[in-house]
Point group: D2
């Protein structure tokens, strides 16, 4: 059985395990106040060309989204997201559990537009009953999105302007950021993200780490007492150095970018193969998540040897499914999948 | 200036004020444990033919929705509502502030269908990632809806069945219940509501009381310690008798039904007049809220002498607006409005 | 049966009922945006000599405490209170339900001292593990306290200084403020309160109104979007004018002070009688709540004709009990109580 | 610099790192549904002689406390704890952030008594104003406590009975459970814990794991949908197998008990040395946390080469401090500490 259903099926890049083993008996202070966290934070600030940024390390994505959003909003404020956004769909109401409405706007290819965001904020702010309506206090976007698509620099710039003009925070969920930055279609980089967002995070869990997300806070108003929020939301790892060590390893020699590029190269092989087989794409994704439409009969056969994620029903006999590559995917696994699909598609 | 913008522009039915004055210097226990609350609760149980029901009195609608919903759900559960539902739109995120997601489904004429509810609940319960998705624990519907429409007995029966088969509570917001029950198109009554819902409330604020909503709890599982919830959510009125006295007055001689019928009669006069003037209805409402589409120029003129609610833009030169009648509306006010509209519509 | 167990056993001062009846059929905007609320707010600003203050009207005390505190604190902050504070003891965890810790410090006679507050804030702010400890963001005191005692001007001034130096809000719960201001031992007034606190409220429910508390916000940082908070916490009364009208009536001709003085005069008669009977005071209260220690046998007898509140067991045969006077207490009721107690105390 | 300030200064037992490395490229399902989690859960059920127990793995202690407590309580319920309990003191209000009051009772040596718990629950349940008081729904105790002390089997049995008679859950925080079970004074074991509690957890973070706590749920009423709660509170690790693998390693050959015994043996060496030096114990602890009173001058000197935790001021010239041993402490470190202290104590 080969798993393509997620980008967190394996452990971590071997260099990370080595580093953990090497430092295992060192004694460090807890809760992220060790030297490795400090070095990793400094390195990330440099990569972002954001010397004033605050960098914090948290264990996982839901925790990070919850901590960032709850710390940024006033009680009567909500967070705007695409309806397909992770916080709206797959976090068991974690944001609402902190008291805030997730304001889901219609998405196209997993994305929001600046115009759409502006229209919503302006509507609320001028409605006769505005005090009866949740006030949007933050915009949350994922890049890459949950559908594998990317925001261009132009799009993100426009969204950033809309937010700043209206005094609304902009937060970018980068759980799969590496795979976005490594995409052929991408024109963003870390310094640009740091310039355009108020806060974003660099995902480790899905990009080579055992676990971990590095939150980069750019705006002053979000920095104060953030560690209190981390602790309260259960995200302050006692042995915080485990996070620092992992991000240090990922960024010291640009390992993060290298292993992301590997995943993208394999995803492109997959995409090319799908094209050659004449399959319909459910969505056109330039990143490590590939979505195609398959006959249910082929899905069933394929499932005997491969794991992949069921996305949604397309019609009575077809479904959209998702294949993920990752830093850990092997070329032979891709070849095996392509071969199997070719065989199945060519059978009568 | 005559106000048609809401059904809470005036005070209370004069009999209520009389009753308050008569009993003003009586001494009673606080917090709803007085004899008037007990009598009113008993009377409501009788009207509902629900001798086992628990009846509680709260001050207002948002408070009531919050208290009922938060007391019914487990932390990871949410409440299904039509996207137009009051809890989704006009309560400043009060439900989310208690930690629960409002699961907004598309509405038609302000209503949900049983099929739609069943489909959503069944989808969540069978999804591979179900533990990552908020579990629907309650269905919230308003009757009349926020758009003035009504659920038929058949529709409500079907929704009730869908909910019971799936162990999901059914909650009916009856902020304007009187106006629904008095409608010519209605085929529901209190005993039927009590049979089909798990909990509902009878609105007083919009139907003759100074304020107050009577919550009727039918299912055992929702009864336990409900008063703790009321107190915690800030809804336990110190002089609780004010609520008991008002509902006693409203239900003792069926005043509630009588004054609701008055509002409906006037709403029908309005509806007939709109028809005669050839106006387009924004929605076809058989209750006290009437929605029509008017040219903006007429809206502006009309606003010189009348208050009404802006609903939404229809096209570049037309808007949908809402007129409410209530227990307090005078026939002469209706005549004045019809006259004004006729004049405006007939001008070149 | 005569009730001394609370100060909310009766309805409202008759002038309030008259005013409600007179204005009953006037049409006003809802949600506190009517002319009566505006006039009442202006009047209160004048009485407080605080022309820049924001004044809001809410229905009850728990709701007010919850709304003020939750709107003032960051998620990781808590509110300091005396252990006997209403928010710590008698609000069913309403503050915690908004996500905030109630930090209960030991009280003496229901009061906190400036030194005690300073010590706690400074300890948290300098502790090695400070990020693991809830940060005090507000100090809540009641005046009069839950034990009937008063803060002097000197004490409040000192507390205010401690709070301002440390950037912690000061909130005074004035549910019984009238009875405090009318006390012979009081040296505070509304303008002084407005100078020393960041926010406080003037209680109506216990001082002549049917219900209602007037929140006075002095500091800029607490004013923004406060109405969103009121709505979200369920405290925005649809017919908000009911609140405005009541406070207008109470403050237009200083009725509030007059009826408070009445309650205090009767409380003093009671206190004098207790002294003459040689009873032990549980606490020395200069306001409308009087606490004495009685043998349980006398309590039982007394309970046949009077209601009073059980405070706590003192020893195996004695209990502390509380008698409240109010704006509505009649002199003959006081005489009856004194007579009954005298009879019981002199029996063998 | 040698660190005795906590039991989480190092990484993990080397066998755990080996195991992680060995399995690193295996592909498993995420979110704790892998074979290692299943095996570890089964092993723990066996060790607890609780074949019906549900076992879940979470990342850290605050997260675990929050998830367990919030999933067990109704909104108006709170959790009883000793005032010194971790949830009351050192979790930045994480419990309150889920909406629940932490009901702190006075502790003696970090412990609660059955009598004290019974008295509180019974008081609340019979108070006239019970609906205005948070209802205790759970009792939280730590074993070992935050002060290193232990509950005896007799004490825990009595507490368990008090809770069951009153329908209140009993939850034991076992963040340092290994060190408790390994103590010479302990008479509890896992099967007894499983019999007496409704839910408890076995701490990994402080006992040899990189991170991780194993929650054991014994009572049916707490099992339902627990994974939804884990996800919502941010505790569902994507690569859940990391948790399963660690607990499997710790329990397969009783490594957990072996390394705990090591820490206790070293703590006893320390305790003996303190006795010989004639130092005053701040508390008499039979586990891995040792608390002594030292002159501030000695503290300052000691701090040049050792890290330890400041507990509290004892008098003007003395402080209580804490030394922790752990699975990772080396005998030579203990010897160095004893030598340094001896030197300092014998200097003039």
């Amino acid at each position: 059985m080969i798993r393509f259903n997620s980008d967190y099926s394996e452990g971590a890049h071997p260099k990370i395990l080595e580093r953990l083993a090497e430092t295992n008996f060192e004694q460090t202070p807890g809760y992220g106040e060790d030297v490795y966290c400090m070095q990793a934070a400094q390195l990330i600030r440099e990569k972002c060309q954001a010397p004033e940024a605050d960098v914090h390390f948290l264990v996982g994505g839901t925790q990070t989204n919850t901590t960032v959003i709850a710390s940024a909003l006033r009680p009567y404020q909500g967070v705007i997201t695409a309806a397909s956004g992770h916080i709206n769909v797959h976090e068991t109401g974690a944001i609402e559990a902190t008291g805030h409405k997730v304001i889901a706007l219609p998405q196209e290819a997993g994305k929001l537009t600046a115009a759409q965001i502006a229209e919503y904020i302006d509507w609320q702010a001028t409605d006769e009953s505005m005090e009866h309506i949740v006030q949007p206090g933050m915009v949350y976007i994922s890049n890459p999105t949950e559908l594998g698509t990317l925001y261009s620099k132009a799009e993100l710039t426009e969204i950033s302007q809309v937010c700043r003009q209206r005094n609304v925070w902009l937060f970018v969920d980068g759980a799969r950021l590496g795979y976005g930055l490594a995409s052929r279609e991408n024109d963003l980089d870390l310094p640009t993200l740091a310039k355009l967002c108020d806060v974003f995070y660099i995902g480790g869990t899905k990009v080579g780490a055992l676990f971990g997300e590095a939150v980069v806070i750019l705006r002053e108003g979000l920095k104060k007492d953030f560690r209190y929020n981390i602790k309260q939301r259960g995200g302050m790892l006692a042995k915080g150095r485990l996070l620092g060590l992992q991000f240090l390893t990922l960024f010291e020699e640009d390992l993060y970018f290298e292993i992301s590029a590997h995943a993208i190269a394999l995803a492109e092989q997959l995409r090319d193969a799908f094209r050659k087989l004449g399959l319909t794409f459910f969505i056109d994704s330039p990143t490590n998540q590939q979505f195609v439409v398959l006959p249910d009969t082929i899905c069933d056969k394929l499932r005997e040897n491969f794991e992949f994620e069921y996305q949604q029903r397309v019609d009575e006999t077809h479904s959209a499914i998702r294949f993920c590559t990752s830093w850990a995917t092997k070329e032979e696994e891709i070849r095996a999948l392509i071969q199997a699909l070719s065989d199945l598609c060519q059978k009568p």
